[in-house]
Symmetry: C2
């Protein structure tokens, strides 16, 4: 993927089958998103889940029934333009694939959910190094004991991503990530992993373990893989999601997701 | 307050000092709200707290700095039109009062947060009886172990309200309350109180205990008293809130708060 910095070029390469790897670092100024696709009879519950749990599940866009060209990238095709997909049935992983053309149904509803690459860009721009970048790994993700607000048939626990920082940097890290409400915003927890039900930092549930240096603390953010965990815990009849780390690259710049206080001043 | 069914009449009676009691049952078709007033330097954090925890803290309206005439009741005065107020300093209850005229500062920012009276109206309209109504009590409220998503200097645990129902009615109760996202929406939990850190149902932290009949289960909703608990747990320097149960009566009809899916289909 060297030399491809435009979202449309990256999506075209993925669509052609020329790339099926992780999207971290691709088109770094552009927003990437998580994908959740459900049959329309589950779409109301999924919309409620996002509305009630905006930290892990900040909705960037809910597409109309049957549509696969999102507003945030009108020439994209959500059926082909992500490197890898997962299909779950009744909470079980059925298969992984590189496109969902033959699975797509006019009754499907797609949701695009904010991704931590947005706030990582803000942290890197401010001079912070991401440990998983330095070690050439995927960010570690963990199941937690943090209960989601249930929504219809959907319930479950939050997935978080983790990045280590020095304790004296935590407030700065919180401030830098806070404006990106639509990309998980500030951390949900920092310090003792056990307080949120994480037993072993060296064994993430998704992604790779990263080194925590002496004197660093783990800092945890809500993660857009959460709906996958909800699909599993709720035994949702059918859901298609992205493979963690293999995101949808949009045409939106990160700054478009930064908090606009004027918008939050009026009624929801 | 007999005979007063219009919000403006009720607010006028409260303003004159003719009424300082609970507002349950007054102007039952109209939305009542929780009140939180903070100095402007804490307003960004409070807005974030609401955005990140919309189930207990659904924002109906955030007023501009110094303003006390809300859009949802333009002729009202938030300094005089609630029956009772509480003032907290550094997490401690400083005083209770029936107006805050002499405390008001041009630097204050007022937040109006949705209230369960909205969904109670929907439940009563569907034929359900509220136990606290039948027993002439205030709804019981409890501190829980449910962690809020932190927002700047604000952190803490959720307060919930509880109403008992028969297990076979829980799904109907969930469906009836779900559309009122701006008034806590559907329950956060039902059944075992211990699962959300409630040890003794007969000893609520606010409001009154109510009878749970044999065969009924307690059903718990997010509660707009949560910001008071956050002010206490976070030791917020200064905050003015309403006395629980003594709400602000708006000019909005409950139906105006019912979910409008069209609004949730676009970007947040």
């Amino acid at each position: 993927m060297n030399g491809l910095s435009e979202p449309a070029e990256i999506r075209a390469a993925i669509r052609r089958g020329d790339y099926a790897g992780p999207t971290a670092g691709l088109a770094p100024e552009f927003v990437q998103t998580n994908l959740v696709v459900v049959p329309s009879d589950a779409a109301g519950d999924m919309a409620d889940l996002c509305a009630r749990n905006p930290v892990p599940c900040a909705l960037i866009e809910k597409l109309p029934v049957g549509r696969f060209h999102p507003e945030c990238a009108p020439d994209a095709d959500l059926r082909t333009d992500l490197p890898k997909y997962r299909v779950y049935r009744k909470g079980l992983l059925l298969e992984k694939r590189t496109d969902i053309l033959d699975l797509w149904h006019e009754d499907f509803v797609a949701f695009l959910i904010g991704c931590s690459y947005t706030f990582e860009d803000a942290l890197v721009s401010a001079g912070f190094s991401m440990r998983h970048h330095a070690e050439g790994k995927s960010v570690p993700m963990y199941r937690t004991s943090l209960r989601l607000m249930p929504a219809g048939r959907l319930w479950g626990h939050m997935i978080v991503s983790m990045r280590p920082f020095k304790p004296e940097d935590v407030e700065t890290v919180r401030e830098l990530t806070r404006p990106y409400r639509a990309a998980h915003g500030e951390p949900v927890h920092w310090g003792d992993p056990d307080a949120i039900g994480i037993r072993r930092l060296e064994q993430p549930d998704e992604g790779d373990p990263v080194t925590i240096e002496r004197g660093e603390v783990p800092v945890f953010w809500g993660c857009g893989v959460t709906p996958q965990n909800v699909a599993i815990e709720s035994r949702l009849p059918y859901v298609i999601v992205h493979e963690p780390g293999h995101m949808f690259v949009t045409d939106m710049h990160h700054q478009e997701l930064a908090r606009d206080d004027a918008r939050t001043a009026s009624r929801p």
